[in-house]
């Protein structure tokens, strides 16, 4: 299950999508919007996606981890648009017969999604806003290692 939506996410529904009687372990990650960033009060987040590519890359992350851990049951759902504080922007649910694979695959799924899926977030403060990762990356001069440089 891959989902990119402007609607609130329902973690229980997404978790249920991976539960099967042959699985003994289900690991779920919820990414929620935090109320502060480096001392600044965040009032909401605005997520923007290159939607067609985002869905494709989410599916690639899913396939990558299915192959690496020999598991089938991975669900990834990302919310975009405005997400208020404390709400869920990302749900990843992984089920497998044994827990170790479920923990590793879920953790790696989050890391990979944040590396390669073209979704951006803007933190909106009381007195301004900021595209979060963009500025960081400019500061460090680093691109994610897995994304080929597009500039000559």
């Amino acid at each position: 299950m891959i989902e990119l939506t402007y609607q609130p996410l329902d973690p229980e529904r997404i978790t249920d999508a991976v539960r099967r009687d042959s699985n003994g372990a289900v690991v779920t990650f919820l990414g929620t919007t935090r109320d502060h960033f480096e001392g600044k009060r965040v009032v909401r987040l605005d997520y923007e996606a290159y939607e067609e590519m985002a869905v494709k890359k989410m599916a690639e992350v899913r396939q990558e981890l299915q192959a690496r851990y020999s598991i089938e049951d991975i669900a990834i759902a990302h919310r975009i648009g405005t997400v208020d504080i404390g709400q869920i922007s990302l749900v990843i649910a992984v089920a497998s017969p044994h827990r170790k694979e479920a923990f590793f695959a879920c953790h790696e799924a989050v890391d990979r999604i944040k590396e390669i899926v073209p979704i951006w977030k803007k933190e909106v403060y009381e007195d301004g806003s900021r595209w979060v990762a963009c500025e960081d990356h400019e500061f460090s001069g680093q691109e994610p290692a897995t994304i080929p440089a597009g500039d000559g």
Binding site: G31, M53, D111, V132, A133, E138, E143, A149, G150, D151
Partner: protein, 85 residues
Amino acid sequence: MHLDVTFFALYRERAGCNRFPLDLPDGATVADLTAEIRRHFPRLAPPEVKIVVAVNTDYADPDLILRDGDEVCLIPPVSGGHRHD
């Protein structure tokens, strides 16, 4: 060849547009495209920051040769591994 280049997020705001039409000579590469984009939008990204390009919904190497009508998008860095939501 003719391309419409799409901007997202920070790049869209800095460029002041979602989409920018661009004519490039046949055989032009992704690197040629980003060089041209930098000429039109010098404040889009600092020189030390590489501009990542997606062509037809995949990340493209700088030496990829573009074709007329390719779907070209400029990709500012995504949420990133060291900071999460």
